[in-house]
């Protein structure tokens, strides 16, 4: 049967129970299916199955013009909105030689970091929901609503605004944007201690996550993980520092890393990233000119030849795109490099030997988003 792929050798064993976690399971954050072999509560086998959200992104995008590709990329990592648009925009700008004004770069970076906070807030809420606490979910979603309100006033949509374009952004900022963001950052800084009380300092969270699902540095590098998962294993790799883009060279921030590599470390790193995002946003609020150009000069019909790989550090890790142009107005080939997809590789490493309850905590600490994994 199709439901036992990868588990044929163990089917005869009577001391092992095989359960299907997903595609409809509250803790899989979407439509992941993990076939798990259980001995009591201990996991003996774990085979992740993906493809329940395969939407054929790359082939559809290859039949669209470059301008039409951008809104499709929005739908990949749907939790972090505009972050997905940036790799395509950067690659095409490189190939077509489009100049981007400084102010546009700063606006892009501000939206990028706003969506990073929004994404980490969604992660925090759902991870705590997986651990059994209901209330932080509601708090984080309210804070996320504020971000989405700010985004909507400028970009026109809440989640998937299609805001970046070649040469800058589509619209100028809303008059109250700077005030709104400053107020939101104040609000968030007031709320962060509450989140620390409810999540990081909670002894039950400690009991559930410390020492659980340890991912060693070597294994993390070997599996190609990136983002907070990699940094929690002690590798200080961040595309924002390693291959800076947009306004990141002009702001100061640190890369929080932890050597523990366990679930708690991944929680902790995401918390610190929120603080770093707040820091970046505060600097950009100071630096960004209030008025000025928000969009460079881009031709109405882009005809591109050449190939280019560009990557950005989105909320889940290195989100890259490889664009090949054959001189036409449509890409000859587009290949996305999803961060969450690579992070999902470690599921068998971390699950096997853990308790079933630990598996839930580990999965939530990986923070998968299936639009990006299945594409």
């Amino acid at each position: 049967m199709s439901s036992t792929i990868g588990l044929e050798p163990v089917l005869g064993r009577s001391d092992e129970m095989i359960v299907n976690m997903g595609p409809q399971h509250p803790a899989t954050h979407g439509v992941l299916r993990v076939v798990i072999g259980l001995e009591g509560e201990r996991i003996t086998r774990a085979v992740p199955h993906i493809g329940y959200l395969h939407r054929n992104h790359e082939k559809i995008e290859e039949s669209r013009t470059y301008f039409q590709v951008v809104p499709f990329t929005d739908r990949m990592d749907y939790v972090s909105g505009t972050q997905n648009e940036l790799p395509v925009v950067l690659a095409v700008e490189d190939l077509a030689g489009i100049e981007v004004p400084e102010r546009a770069k700063m606006i892009r970076t501000m939206f990028f970091e706003l969506f990073r906070i929004a994404s980490h807030l969604v992660w925090m809420g759902t991870a705590m929901l997986d651990l059994g606490a209901i209330t932080p979910f509601l708090y984080t979603f309210w804070d996320r609503e504020i971000i989405l309100g700010i985004v909507e006033r400028t970009a026109g949509a809440r989640m998937l605004p299609n805001y970046y374009t070649f040469g800058g952004v589509r619209r100028d900022l809303h008059p109250h944007f700077f005030k709104d963001v400053a107020e939101f950052l104040d609000h968030l800084e007031k709320r962060m201690p509450d989140y620390e009380h409810l999540v990081l300092e909670n002894p039950i969270v400690h009991a559930r996550t410390v020492g659980v699902g340890v991912l060693s540095k070597e294994r993390a590098v070997a599996r190609g993980v990136s983002g907070p998962v990699l940094r929690a294993s002690g590798v200080a790799y961040d595309v924002r520092k390693a291959f800076p883009y947009d306004a990141y060279p002009e702001v100061e921030f640190e890369i929080p890393t932890s050597d523990a590599g366990d679930t708690y470390a991944r929680f902790w790193v995401r918390f610190q990233e929120i603080y770093q995002s707040v820091k970046i946003l505060r600097q950009l609020l100071e630096k960004t000119p209030k008025t000025g150009p928000f969009k460079g000069r881009a031709p109405a019909r882009l005809k591109i030849s050449g190939e280019r790989y560009r990557a950005v550090e989105n909320s889940r890790g290195e989100l890259g795109v490889y664009v090949v142009g054959d001189g036409g107005d449509k890409p000859y080939r587009i290949k996305h490099r999803g961060a969450a997809f690579s992070n999902l590789q470690v599921i068998p490493d971390l699950f096997i030997g853990a308790k079933f309850s630990d598996a839930i905590a580990i999965l939530s600490s990986l923070d998968p988003v299936f639009g990006e994994i299945d594409r």
Binding site: R153, T154, D172, H197, L198, E201
Partner: protein, 190 residues
């Protein structure tokens, strides 16, 4: 003693968490009473599409097919014929499949005359999917129904009480920062 201290720390942390949660009981919730209270969406918010007519009832659309070409979701289908009197084209059919639309507002960006616009009416849920296949009457009705709409070329426009179409004040505009700052800067100079 370290064990006792550990227990005390744990109890204290749980107590702090519980106090954090309980604090909210005394705060007013930020809930919007949506169906009872009308939602105030920003004027640039993309919730639906509409086709604006001029004040005198003539068509603003020049049937240039730019929106049809720009649409990433390929939901716009237009048929036209050459105007027998004068120049330009006339509309035979102008359909937007609002079911499959991805509300990216690429068509609005592409429109050279700001005829196709975004509006804030999101209450389009239906028992019957056929009601969402928007023809030209539907799109005109959407525009007639809405008080304000947005297009990048003309910015936010509003319909006044007596049916005239006007440009909205700068604080409603997305790029209105420059205009908004101008009077203040002049005052400082003088």
């Amino acid at each position: 003693m370290s064990l006792l201290n550990e227990v005390w720390q744990a109890v204290k942390a749980i107590g702090t968490g519980m106090a954090t949660v309980h604090k909210r009981v005394y705060e007013e919730a930020p809930t919007e009473f949506y169906p009872y209270v009308e939602l105030d969406l920003p004027p640039v918010s993309v919730q639906s599409l509409a086709l604006v007519e001029n004040e005198d009832g003539t068509e603003r659309c020049i049937v240039c097919l730019q929106c049809e070409r720009a649409c990433p979701s390929q939901v716009i289908s237009i048929e036209r014929h050459r105007n027998p009197e004068g120049k330009g084209f006339l509309i035979d059919r102008f359909d937007i499949d609002l079911v499959n639309c991805m509300y990216c507002s690429a068509c609005v960006e592409a429109c050279p005359v700001s005829s196709i616009v975004t509006i804030q009416d999101f209450e389009l849920s239906t028992y019957d999917l056929h009601t969402l296949k928007a023809d030209i009457d539907f799109l005109h009705e959407q525009a007639r129904r809405s008080k304000k709409w947005y297009s990048p070329k003309l910015g936010v426009e509003i319909r006044t009480e007596d049916g005239r179409i006007e440009k909205a004040p700068p604080e409603m505009q997305p790029g209105g920062l420059a205009e908004l700052l101008k009077p203040a800067a002049e005052e400082e100079e003088s």
